[in-house]
Every structure is written in C-alpha cells, then in structure tokens.
C-alpha cells in the first residue's frame, strides 16, 4: 500500500464527507472519522493523516467545525470535532450542490453511453 489514498478524493468531497459523518454520528475524533469513512466505503477509502488532518484544520478554520480536547471511551486523550451551525448550513448547501451535479453527470453519461 502506498502513501496515497486508495480512492482519489475529489477536491471538496472530503469536506462534505467529514461534515456528513459528524452530522450523523455527533462529535468524533480524527481516527473515528477515518474509520467510519473506510467502513462506509467498504474499505475503498483509506485516508492518510496528511489528507485528513489538514482538512479538519481547514474546516475548523472556516468555522464549520469546532475541535476540543476530550477523553475517549477507554480514557484516552483525543481531539473531538463537532459540526457547528455554520457547518450544518454548509453541509445542506453542499449536499444540494452534490445532488444537482450528480444528476447532471448521470444524465450526461447515460446519454453518451
């Protein structure tokens, strides 16, 4: 396995995935987010740290997430990320945009195919 992610993450989609994960599961630490995405993708999506954590930081800087140090179930110190109100708005907008784009792509590809 190389350092590269198994599936190339489309620019902007990672943000949406992270936001959606946090919106669904509530506050999570970085590893849990990665594990969740791997699980959901059936192992296709293995994020390395160099992709995931800068993205978390970017989202936090935009005010879409809030990160705080907390303790995991088995008492380990971890940084938990929670989606903010702005994050939820962004997620809604992002979802709508994604659906619209997917529709366009589907239509287009089926016509051609």
């Amino acid at each position: 396995m190389s350092n590269k992610d198994k599936a190339g993450v489309l620019q902007g989609t990672l943000d949406l995935m992270v936001l959606q994960t946090l919106a669904t599961l509530g506050p999570q630490h970085g590893y849990a987010i990665a594990a969740r995405l791997e699980q959901v993708s059936g192992g296709a999506l293995q994020l390395n740290m160099g992709t995931l954590y800068p993205a978390l930081m970017r989202l936090e800087q935009r005010g879409l997430l809030r990160g705080e140090w907390g303790v995991t179930d088995n008492s380990r110190k971890a940084r938990f990320y929670a989606i903010t109100a702005a994050g939820r708005r962004q997620l809604g907008a992002g979802k709508a945009e994604w659906d619209r784009m997917a529709d366009i792509m589907r239509t287009l590809l089926h016509e051609q195919g």
């Binding site: 590893y31 954590y53 935009r62 940084r79």
Partner: protein, 888 residues
Amino acid sequence: MATMREWLRRLSGTIRRDRADQDLEEELRLHVELLAEAAQRQGHSPEAAARRARLQAGGTAQAMESMRDQRGLPWLEDLGRDAQLGLRMMRRNPLFSAVAILSLALGIGANTAIFSLVNPLMLRALPVREPAQLVELLSKFPGEPRNNAFRWNVYEHFRDHNHVFSDLIGLLPRRAEVSGDALAAETVSAEYATGNFFPALGLEPALGRLIRAEDDQLNADVVAVVSWSYWQNRFNHHPGIVGRRIVVDGAPATIVGVAPRAFRSVLFGSRPDVWLPAAVGRRNDSRFALGLVGRLKPGVSIEQARAEMRVLDRWRIEEAAKTAPFLRQLTIELEPAGAGLSLLRDYYGRPLLVLMAIVALLLLIACTNVAGMLLARGTARQRELAVRVSLGAAGFRLMRQMLTESVLLAGLGGALGTALAYFGVDALVRIVMSGRGVVGLAGPLQQIEAHLDAEVLMFTAAVSLLAGILFGIAPAWHALRSAPAQSLRETGTAGDARSKRLFGRGLIVAQVAISLVLLSTAGVFISHLWNLRNVGLGFNRHGVLLVTLDPSRSGMAPERLFQPYQDLLSRLEAIPGVRAATLSGVTPIHGAGSARFVNVPGFQEPPMARQYTSLNWVAPRYFETFGTPLVAGRDFQFADQGQARVAIVNQSMARYYFGDGNAVGRQFTLDGQDRAYEVIGVVGDAKYLDLHNAAPRTVYLNAFQESRMFSHRFSIRTDTAPSAVAGDVQRTVAEVMPAMAITRVTTLADQVDASIVPERLVAMLSMLFGSLGAVLVGIGLYGLLAYTVSRRTNEIGIRMALGATRHDMIKMVLAGAAGLVAAGLIVGAPFAWWGRQLASRWIVNLPIDNPWPIAFGAIAMMVVGLAAAYLPARHAARVAPAEALRHL
C-alpha cells in the same frame, strides 16, 4: 466571506499559535496508535500492527508539514521559522557572523551616510508649488565656476522681455542686523526677495501676509516677513508679531507675516530668518545683484527657455562688454531648480556623486566578501542541506531558507551600518563645513544638513535587501545544485565541486580588482589635493593667524585709522611667538578680492585680450608674513605715507606689461584714475582668490598711502602654532582699540582648506573607503586561504612526508595568494584607468597622467594579499606530516 474569515483565523493562528506543534503531534500519535490497536485486534503481532499502522497513516512529518502550512499564513510562518533557523546558524558561527555583519555594516553604513548628503542636495523637491517648473539662470565665464548673480537692470530686462517664464523671481541672501523692542540686536540671515517671489512660488503665509509686488518699490514702507523658526525662537509663536516694528540694518521695518513652516529657501542649505523686499537692497547697494529663478510657462520646455534666454542675454553681454570687452565670452545657462538653487550643488554635487560611486563599489566588495564566506560555509553545510533535501524539504524551500539567512545578515548589517552612519554623518557635515566655523562668528550663510530621515532609512533598507539577495543568491544556488545523494555519499572533504572552487577564487579576484579601482582613485584624489595645497601657491600657508576687524561700529572714521592700525601692528609684533604682522584688503584664497584694468604707457593690447589685474592694498611686511619672495626692489614702508604713490607687482604682471626688462622704476595707472604708481618691487606669483586658478597678474598697493584705510584684515606670522597666539592677539586689539569689533579669527591653513572642502572630502573619504575595501579584501582572502589550507592538510602532509620543506609549503600558500591578487590586478587595472578618466571628466585638473596612483593601489593590494596569506602559510608550514596522514 468564508475565505476572508479563514484568512483572519489563519492570521490569528500565526500570531496566537493556538495549536502548537505539540498539540498537532499528539493528535497524530493517537491516530497511529488507534490504527495499530485495530490491526492488533485483527490478529497481527504488535510489531506488524505498528508497521501496518504507520504505512496506512502515512508519514507524520508530511502531515505535520501540511498542517503547519494550513495552520497560519504559511509564508509568514516560514519566514519566521527561516529567520529563527538563520539566527541559530549565526549563533553557531559567531566569528563568521560577526565578520559578515561588520563587513556589510561598513558597506551599507557608507552608502547611508553619503546618500544622506546626496538626497537633500540633489533629489528632494522644494516645498513650493510645481517645483519641477522652476529653473535657475546661471552666468558662465570660461574657466570659472558658474554663478547666479544678475544686476537689477538685467533682471528687469529679462523679466519684461521673456515669453517663456510665467514668473521670474530674484533673491539675494545676506546678513542683516535686526533689533527692536524686547529684541536684542543680533545678526540674522536674511534674504532679499522680489515682489513676485512668494506669489510665484505659491506660498501661503502661516500668519499675516507675505511680501507683495507693491512692497517691492523704492519708495514703499519697508516690510519684513520672518521664518517660522524665527517666529518660534524669538517671538514664542506670539500672534502679535504681525505689525511689530523692528530695525533692520538701521532702518525701520514692519513685520507683516510669517512664512510657511516647511519653507526655508529656494537656495539650498540656506535658512533665512527674515525676508525683505529687494528694493531695500537696491537702495543700500548700487552694485546690487540677484539670483534669478524662473517658473516655466506650462508647455514650455527648458530647451525653449534656454534658446530664448540666450537671445535676451545678448543685451547683458553688450552692456558688460562696454567697459570690459573680454566679458563677451560670458554665456547664460539654465538649470532645473526644483530641488533648490545649484550653488552648493555645483560645488558639492559631483564630488558627492563620485563618493556615491565609491561607496557603491565598497558595498560590492563587502557583498562579494560575504558571498565568498557563505560559499565556503555552504560547503560545510552541504551535508546538512543534503539531509534536509532527502527528508523531503523542497529545493525552493531551501533556497528561500538560504536567502532568508543572507537577507537577515544584510538586515543586521544594515542596522549596524545605520548606527555607524548616524555618527558618521555628523562627522561628514563637520568636514564639509569645516574651516568656515570661525571663532565667535555666526555660522555660514549656507549650511548643509543631513539627517537619517525616513527617505534615507528607506534607501538603507532597500540597499540592505538588495545586498542580501545579491550576495546570497550565488551561494544558495551552488548549495542547491550539488546533488544531495552525491554529497551524502561523499566524504566531507571531497564534497565541493570544482566550479565552486573557481567561483570562490573568482570572487577574490573581483574583490582585488574593485579594490584596486578604489585605491587608485583615492590615490588620484589625494595627489590632486596635495597639488592644490602645495603646488604653485606662492605663499606659505602654515603658521599664519588671520584676524578681521570691523571698525564700522567703533566710532573710528576710516580716515583716522592709520595711526591706530600702525600701533596695533607694532604691538602685535611684540607678542612672544609672533615674527611679523601685517594687514591687507584681502588675504590669500579668501575668495573675494578686487580687480581693475591697468594702463601702462606705451603698452598696446587688443581689447578682447585685455583682462583685469588683481589688486590688494597691503601694509609693510605683507610678503614676509605670507612667505612670498621679494624678487627685486624693496618692500613698502610706513614712511611711504604722503610720498609719491608706489606699487609692488608680481612676476606675471611684470612679465606681461614690462617684458623681460626690470619692472622696478616703471609706471602705470589704474583704469579711470590719473595718478601714476611707480613700481618699487617685484614679488613671486601667489594664488589670489582660488586655489584652482593659477596666480593672476597682481598689483599690491600700500594701504597706508590711501586717503582712507579700507584694509581690515590682519595677518600674523608666528613661530608656534598660530592658534596659540589668538588669545594674545584678541587682547591686544582690545587694548589698542577697545571699541573695535573682531569679526573673524582663523588660520591661513584653515582658510585654504575651507576653499577646497569638496576636494578634501573626496580625498579623505575615498582613502578611507579604499582602505576599508582593502581590509575587506584581506579578510576575504584570509578566509579563503585558511579554508583551503585546512582542507589540504592531508595533501600538505603527504608532500612534506615526501620531502617538501616547510619553506616550500609557505611558498606554495603565498604564491597562491599572490596569484589571486595578480589576477585581480590584471582585471582591475583597465577599470582603474577607465575610472580615472571618468573621474577626470567630473573633476577638473585631476592629475590623470600620473601612473603612481595605480602603482600605489597595486602595491597596497599585494601587501594586503601577502599579509592575509601569512597566517594560513604559517599554518601550512606547521602541519605535522604524521598527524596529517593519520587523518587520511
């Protein structure tokens, strides 16, 4: 909006550093640990689990790097980090850093200091309306400095007949005595200004009003405008100043207003306290002359104005030529005056530009020097850099790191240089104005001011940045070009490429070449100065005290001064240490004198060839006092008083009018006078007004034969230092004539030096900067040689083991140094020659056919080179073969 917010958060992240590296690392560590635990749960051994986790997570370092980039403003953050690293590198190499910073400080400081003089003199615009439209008028006579002084009638002619100027203004700086109620009498610096002066410059009063056209009439009441600083210092900003009555030079005047705060004068370096209408000057002085400044009409070029003024000027030339036909050679010139009038600029401008070029070269040496040192250190750092490259640092990043280091060096050098310049500028101004500061007298009319103001500091910052990039780029490029893998593989000693070695030597050669240019140029300026001071003076400038008296307020009429002056002279000669005392109308190189046409019976000359003969009214023992030899005949005597008029002529005068025959006994008259003078003596030629001109034909007349005494300059030849008797002389004057004012006390040597300040400035500073350059070259060469020897220890050991003697080793190092210096001299010689030609175009009478300055520079560089090689050579000779071989 979102990007804006992100940017702000990043900025605050940079400043607050709210997520420290530690914080980020901890988060990543947990990630890897959890991954490993997951793998262990799947049945992997702890070791395998940890490996899998690391592989899946990716490099911690890379993630950290991306997050750091993400965290703050990356470039700002990196810059800070690069700077920190740079500072760390500097601390690790304190000697290297100190030498580099000091070199740069000297180079940058010299540039700052000279620029602080050049900036106000050449570049800064006057605080007036549309300064770029201002041009000044200059009268030029072949072989003499230009001057901006035109008679009133010429001014009127130009003003009323030109079509190129929207306004033509006139001004004249003067001293004036001002007194008034609650205002102690004092001599202030004043300026006569034509009525259109202030309106044409677009100046608005700070208070009251300024001089208007109707004030500048011969019959108008006298008004005065004072400067802001005068208002502040003498009136404490009291608004009641408007309408105050004062007395200026004995005549009543009314202060009508205060000039704007920012305005000083259109005359560079002049700071008048009071402006008066030009009419006041015209009333007092029949020979009143003005400096003229025109404001070009919109759309009129200076070329058009020149063409028109040349036509209008014919009138002035014809008027002047009526009495003196040779004045037909006069021409008129126009120069931009947006930065102020050029009197001082003509005087100092070119020397300062020469100095600017010199300090630029000095800085270039400093940069080259530091580049050489960085290059040598780059070799030592190559392994460090290689490690960083293989650990993933981008080449661009390393380049930036190295440039940051060099700019940091330059910045520290610039800061230290500014401090040096701060003190240097004061010394410079003192040199520039020296010789004029005279015991108990107000300062000169024009004062050069140099401050390290914002403009100068900006210049310094720009120069530092540029220097940092200049000397940093080559070493940085070299460091990067060396392939990291290769240099890791190689041992530390073999790591540097041949090209780099050549480049390092090239830098030394370049430094030697530049240094040769500087030293030989300095040599030229010094021999020029020496010539001016010593060749063909015709008098001995050492050991003469000059004292000027002003009887105007002593209550003693000029007709009745003969006896007191004669008494004073004999009393002065009685002072211990005084060998002779005399008086004269002018003293040598005072800069002002009088001149007349001379008529010799039977002597014919074409009108155009007819020239003025310089005149001086002197007392007995004048020639003895000044050390001018009496070639034939006798000196004046006090007993000549009341006898037939006698004169002494110099040899030029005697040769011109009386041929080779003996002039003694011959007669002449002065133009416009009937009485004949009989020549009783011939003296050697002596320079008169100005050191730059050869001795003119000169006639000396006996001051004691005139109907009134108008020679008030006393000169005292001393056996000791002239200043040692100054106190006695002043006391003696007070005893003989208690009411007599002493206006000036100086020495002849100082008076001579005061007339050649630009030459002294250039000679002293070019020598100083040339020596500094040579020292820098020495340091650079020493560094290179020491480095080379230390790297060749093995080779030297082998050679000595094979039978080479210590002597051979010393010879090898010295020959290496001599070779580099010789190469530099060969490269530099044409530039030195060319630089001298260039300088001679700017500075007249430069002795350029003299080969000595270049030879001097070459010898000096050889000495510096061998001195720099001495320690490394000794080091090489002390290599113990066994020791060196053990390290192989």
